[in-house]
Structure formats: C-alpha cells, structure tokens
C-alpha cells in the first residue's frame, strides 16, 4: 500500500491529502483510497476563493454514484483557488486523484503547517488498520 502513496504529501485521517506548493500555499485533494471507496464521482462542490476555512471544517462536497461525502479542510487559512474543471469533469477525481483532480488551494495562516497531519508512512498504517 505505502509504495503507491506519494511520499511528498501529507494526509488526514479523513482521507484528504495536502501538498505544499513552491509558492508556500497548500493544495488539497482526496486520496486514491478515498476515490476508490467512493466509486465514480459525479458532482463536486468546492469553496469560493476568499472563503476562510478552519482545520476540520467541512468546506467541500464530493458526490459519487453512491453517496455524498464532506471534505474537511486540513488547515486554517483562506481559499485562494478551487479547481473549476471539476464542475464539468468530476471524473478527474477518479482518474488523477493526486494531480488533475485537486480540489482547492489554501493560503495557510501564519504559524500553520503540516503539524498534526500524517506522513505517507503513518497514512499507510491507518489504511492497513482500517482494512482489518
């Protein structure tokens, strides 16, 4: 399992991933495990740029053929951008969960970071635990 997880990302227990971009902002998405569990994604609602979000706050919704799932912000900050392509092509979340299927970019509050998030090894351990 862990060999398929990008090791440059951080992860949450609710199956989001976080990538620190060169400019310092954080890119957020859902993991490959999450998209597989959800099945074909058919609708995505992302927050508008400028919205303030708190860590743990439900700020986006992804809906598959099966069910709706809340996406929780992994950090405190302000939404800089959201992935407009998902409105017409939600299947990007299935096809490229760590790439073209990104959900939003957040400017993290001063002092905020990846502390409290899982690294790839810890997330792999969580997945192994959940599958038991």
């Amino acid at each position: 399992m862990s060999d398929t997880l990008p090791d440059d990302l951080h992860y949450t227990k609710s199956h989001e991933w976080v990538r620190r971009l060169p400019g310092g902002e954080f890119e957020i998405g859902i993991t490959d495990h999450a998209q597989q569990a959800l099945g074909d994604l058919v609708f995505v609602e992302v927050p508008a740029p400028g919205r303030r979000v708190a860590a743990g706050e439900a700020c986006a919704v992804v809906e598959s053929v099966k069910a709706a799932s809340d996406i929780y912000s992994p950090v405190d900050g302000v939404v800089l951008a959201s992935n407009a392509a998902l409105a017409d092509t939600p299947e990007l979340l299935n096809q490229s969960p760590y790439g073209a299927g990104w959900l939003m970019r957040i400017a993290v509050d001063a002092g905020g970071g990846t502390g409290g998030l899982l690294d790839a090894v810890a997330y792999a351990a969580l997945l192994a635990e959940e599958s038991n």
Partner: protein, 366 residues
C-alpha cells in the same frame, strides 16, 4: 458473511466490490458503475439476480388462489408463458412485495401452475405468507432454491443469448413477445427486465449458470453490479421494494394504481377494500423529479410543494441524462415546481413524467 449465489466466486474473480444486499453478498460494481450503466443502454450487460426468489405454485385451484392473493388479476394470463406484474398486499393495502407471475403449462389434466419471481429481501416473508394461505386452496408451494437467475439486458441482449441456442430454439427466442416466457430445455427465459431496455431474464439450474455466464462473457457481455442496476431502474422510473414500496404504503401512493385490477368487482383480492378507499382519498402520489440546479438528489430528502411536504424515495445521478433525478412521494395535485432540501439547502426541481429514459433515449425535456 452473507448468503451467496452460485456466481459469488465468479464475481470475486471478476474483481467485483462485494456489498451486503438484503443479507446477500452481491457485486456492487466490477470497477466502474457508470461504464456498466452505459454498457446496458448502448449494447448489453448481465446481472446476477439469483438472490431473488422463484416460487412455483400448482394445483387445480391455483388460478383461483392467485386471484385472491394478488392485486393484479391472473385471469389476464390467457395462455401459458404469459407474464404479469403485480403487488401482493396486506389486508390494509400495504405492499408486501411486487413480483412477476408467469402462467406455466399444465402439469396434469385440470391442474394449473404458475411461477412467481419475488424480491430478495422479501422472499422468506413472501413464502410464509403464501404458504399460510395456499393450503386452504389445496395449492402446492415450492420455492425453487435449485434455480439461478441471470438477467441479460440491453439492445443487443436477445441476439447474444440467441447465439448460444440451436437454430430452432433461436427462432423461438427471437419471436418471444415482451412480458412472455418460454421454456427452452432447462432454461426458463422471460422477455422482462428492470432497466428500461429490451432484454431477458433467465432461470436455469444453479449448476449451469457459471457456464452461461462464461459464454456470455466470452461473447463480450459486460458484467453489471447492483449499483448500475439501481441507476438503470431509476432512469426507467421503476419502483424498488424498500424504497418506493413498503408495507406502510398502498399501491395508489406508490404509483402502482395501474397494476391493481379493480374489475371484475366480484374478485375479492386481499387488500381490495383498503385500496378502494385509498383510491378515493388519494392524498399522496409518486412522481419523477428532475433537479434544475447543480447537485445530486438522494433518497429521504424533504420536498416542498404548494400542497405541502413530501419526500424523495430514491434519487441519484442519471448517467444517461447527465443530470440528477429522483422519485418522490408528494401530495396529490402539487404544482410542477418544487424544491428539495439538499444538506438543508433548498434547490429547485421540476415534476416530470416517468420513465425518464427508455430504450437508450431521454423521454423528458432537460
């Protein structure tokens, strides 16, 4: 660990995601529910429906018994091989199950025989209900646990099954009218389905179903799980027992008044008086909804109409339409424009005529 059909190992080998459905371990999908849905609309797919129940009834008074047991009238089955969709009701009109009844050939002079195909989650309840009432008519009730059921659905379904048959049988199958069944060797083949497409449902000995699956698979038929089965039947506007239908609601409030045979009036079927009262009062109706804004309708969402509140019974994304649709139970006479609460937020929806989709085409204006 739930009950398993004879095709369980085949599903696992095909890579199915297995889920519990009414106590059965069944395939949800084999990779992509959307691809499976489109395969049925555009070509052909096959579904293991062996979890459904097959109950055979026979006896000199089997016809008379079924005219009492079912809300639709088996007197309409003019010849062996004809099929009929019906509800089976409680005395108070609540729907115990929806089923298809086929008239079979005579087993002995003066005997009549019928086959019922009932839902998976209700098969034990149905058998007990039927058995408790059959004895008074001297009718034999036999649950056919020895049979498997495979549905082959889509515009190319009949050609694919016909190709497996010898020429004489092939001709019989291709000439089979809609809602009729024929016995070809050990296969009982009905031209019925639950998708809004042409297709067949085949009952055959449990030990023969794996070979049939393998042959159809080799011919390019797509395996389809319960996920796409649900979106296909929703687009076709067909009710699902446990969602649109249950013991708390009568057929009038479930969009199935057309399946209740009120004539002849002297036929005293179980639930008749209650359904007559419900027809006169008719406070609620089942309708189709099309979501006019972005989002996805789901079951059990609150619906607001000009005549009062209602609720969605099923909802989801309709792959053929690229839009979200639902079935909903709402007050009779409500105006076309309604709103549905999605995560507490009201969104606009419109009442539309069902089916939403039939034979691969949208029947509603998007």
């Amino acid at each position: 660990m739930g009950l398993k059909t004879p095709l369980y190992d085949t599903h696992v080998r095909e890579g199915a995601k297995i889920v519990d459905f009414g106590g059965w371990d069944m395939p949800l999908h084999y990779g992509s529910q959307l691809d499976e849905h489109h395969a049925v609309r555009r070509a052909v797919g096959m579904f293991d429906v062996s979890h459904m129940g097959v109950i055979d009834l026979s006896g000199a008074r089997a016809r008379e018994f079924l005219r009492s047991l079912l809300a639709n009238d088996v007197a309409k089955l003019a010849a062996p091989g004809r099929g009929l969709y019906s509800c089976m009701l409680r005395d108070d009109g609540g729907v115990l199950d929806d089923l298809i009844v086929y008239r079979l050939g005579e087993t002995a002079p003066g005997e009549t025989a019928y086959r019922l195909v009932v839902n998976a989650g209700t098969r034990d309840k149905d058998r007990d209900w039927i058995s408790a009432r059959a004895a008074a008519y001297g009718v034999t009730v036999q649950e056919r646990r020895d049979l498997a059921l495979l549905a082959v659905q889509g515009p190319a379904a009949r050609d694919h099954v016909a190709a497996l048959l010898p020429p004489a049988q092939r001709e019989v199958l291709l000439g089979l009218p809609v809602f009729c069944a024929v016995e070809l060797g050990e296969w009982f083949i009905a031209r019925t389905g639950y998708t809004g497409e042409d297709g067949l449902e085949i009952a055959l000995p449990a030990d023969a179903v794996q070979a049939l699956w393998a042959k159809l698979r080799a011919a390019g038929v797509t395996p389809v799980g319960l996920g796409a089965r649900d979106t296909l039947r929703l687009e076709a506007g067909l009710s699902l027992y446990g969602s649109e239908l249950d013991e708390a609601h009568d057929p009038i409030a479930s969009g199935l008044a057309w399946t209740v045979a009120f004539d002849p009036p002297e036929r005293r079927f179980i639930g008749r008086d209650a359904v007559l009262r419900a027809r006169a009062a008719a406070p609620a109706q089942l309708v189709g909804l099309l979501l006019e804004e972005r989002g996805i309708l789901r079951s059990h969402q609150a619906v607001s109409t000009d005549r009062g509140p209602g609720e969605t019974t099923s909802g989801g994304f309709a792959p053929t339409l690229g839009r979200s649709i639902a079935l909903a139970r709402i007050p009779t006479g409500a105006a076309e424009r309604v709103s549905v609460a999605i995560r507490g937020k009201p969104v606009a929806a419109r009442i539309v005529k069902t089916p939403f989709v039939r034979h691969g085409r949208a029947l509603i204006t998007l």
